[in-house]
């Protein structure tokens, strides 16, 4: 009976530790994961659902995360799987980024805002295979190795895609620029 009480209090201690670990993960990664999810689906509501579901699954299998340093790729893998499930369940309509209201409270000048909208539109147009590694690198701060692991590609392929992603963006943006100049002439 006494042993039972002890094991019960041990369970409570383990539970409290798990909770602390979990809360830390939520606080550290929720913003980045939300942004990553947002750029995968380009819908604030779906993005929040994805992040919620990701953390719920993370809570359920937190014991399988042995190394806290591996938390980021681990969470990203869960989130990507959740996103894929979404397509299995139902094909959502994609909203065009041009119709979205992306209000970024951090930018204050009109120039900045315009420039950001132009860049956002071009990022949205990138093929998935280029956009995703770029998001992992720029939004999530993942290294080449981490991206390779998450996307299950070899590192050279990741590097090539990152190069092409930026190249395509640069080209598209300079085309935009020329069109703008042409229009104002």
């Amino acid at each position: 009976m006494l042993g039972n009480e002890n094991s019960k209090s041990q369970v409570l201690v383990d539970m409290a530790e798990k909770k602390t670990r979990y809360e830390k993960l939520v606080h550290i990664y929720h913003s980045e994961l939300y942004r990553f999810a947002y750029w995968l689906c380009r819908d604030p509501n779906i993005a929040e659902d994805l992040v919620q579901e990701t953390f719920l699954r993370a809570w359920r299998s937190l014991d399988s995360l042995l190394d806290q340093k591996a938390a980021k790729p681990w969470l990203l893998t869960i989130l990507r799987r959740e996103n894929a499930r979404r397509f299995e369940r139902k094909q959502f309509d994609y909203s065009d980024v041009e119709n979205d209201t992306l209000v970024d409270e951090k930018s204050v000048t009109l120039d900045d805002e315009m420039e950001q909208t132009v860049i956002q539109r071009q990022i949205a147009k990138l093929p998935d295979e280029y956009r995703e590694p770029l998001l992992l690198q720029v939004v999530m701060g993942c290294s080449g190795e981490e991206i390779a692991e998450i996307l299950d590609l070899n590192k050279n392929t990741v590097m090539t895609r990152l190069y092409r992603a930026r190249n395509q963006l640069k080209e598209a943006l300079s085309r935009d620029d020329e069109q703008l100049k042409g229009a104002s002439n």
Partner: protein, 267 residues
């Protein structure tokens, strides 16, 4: 390595600190310029991708998990109870299960109450950090550091030239920084656009906010502030306020002097 490969590798990783790349770039100013261009482009990308995160998201995630965990622990206890029931009495009745469930619920109230009180505390913290009008400058600075806490984990170097490209927008220039810059962003400080950067020091990552003093974003409160993790100092200048936030115990004064001595205003 030839120039083509160099460009491919920098385009793939503009902030790479790979020795081979750095040495190759040093041989030619054009190559260095290419790195600066790509790093500036990356900052534009990062700013464009930095969509606002809905307020209270962390709080909602924790609430959602607490609710699910509660339901799940109820179900698990019922399941665990089942074999004991069968051994004690022949075929388990559904009625018994119902009674079990309701007694379990009573026992589950304590953790539920604890979860609820944690949520209230988290909510109170989030709520207080959103009232960004009247509370003191130090709290505002700390809230901002916590809001972008990931900024302290970045490791890739951002060149001083890239920093100055951004800083020039505010009319300033930095001669040097006391460490490798790893984070650079324009941020909103109570309606005033300011520079948010993080550099690596011997005492861990330090955050610097340089915010033009026009709007008096850091107008109210003591110059020195701290909580149980960070401490900071506000240097109120004629052109801008410079706020330095470091881990508790770092020699703030020394770094503060070096940073403020390196800022020049171009007007």
């Amino acid at each position: 390595m030839d120039d083509l490969e160099f460009r491919r590798r920098i385009s793939a990783q503009p902030n790479s600190t790979d020795k081979e790349l750095v040495e190759f770039a040093e041989q030619h100013s054009e190559r260095q310029e290419f790195i600066n261009d790509m790093q500036a482009f990356d900052l534009d990308l990062a700013n464009a991708l930095d969509v606002p995160v809905p307020a209270g998201l962390a709080e909602r995630i924790l609430a959602n998990t607490a609710a699910h965990a509660q339901n799940e622990s109820l179900t698990t206890e019922q399941v665990n109870q089942a074999p004991a029931d069968t051994s004690a009495q022949t075929p388990p009745q559904q009625k018994d299960n119902l009674i079990e469930a309701s007694t379990r619920f009573k026992r589950a109230r304590l953790p539920l109450a604890m979860a609820a009180s944690v949520l209230v505390a988290v909510g109170a913290f989030l709520f207080s950090s959103e009232q960004n009008v009247a509370y003191a400058a130090g709290e505002h600075a700390l809230a901002h550091v916590y809001y972008e806490i990931n900024s302290l984990q970045k490791t890739e170097a951002i060149s001083l030239a890239t920093v100055n490209e951004k800083f020039a927008v505010l009319g300033g220039h930095l001669d040097e920084l006391p460490g490798k810059v790893t984070y650079l962003m324009f941020c909103d400080f109570k309606g005033q656009k300011g520079l948010h950067l993080v550099f690596e020091s011997d005492y861990g990552p330090m955050t610097v906010f340089i915010v033009p003093s026009k709007q008096q974003s850091f107008g109210i409160g003591d110059n020195d502030f701290q909580d149980d993790r960070f401490e900071g100092h506000i240097n109120r200048g004629a052109d801008a306020d410079t706020i330095l936030v470091a881990s508790l115990g770092a020699p703030l004064e020394n770094y503060n002097d070096r940073i403020n001595g390196a800022i020049r205003w171009l007007n």
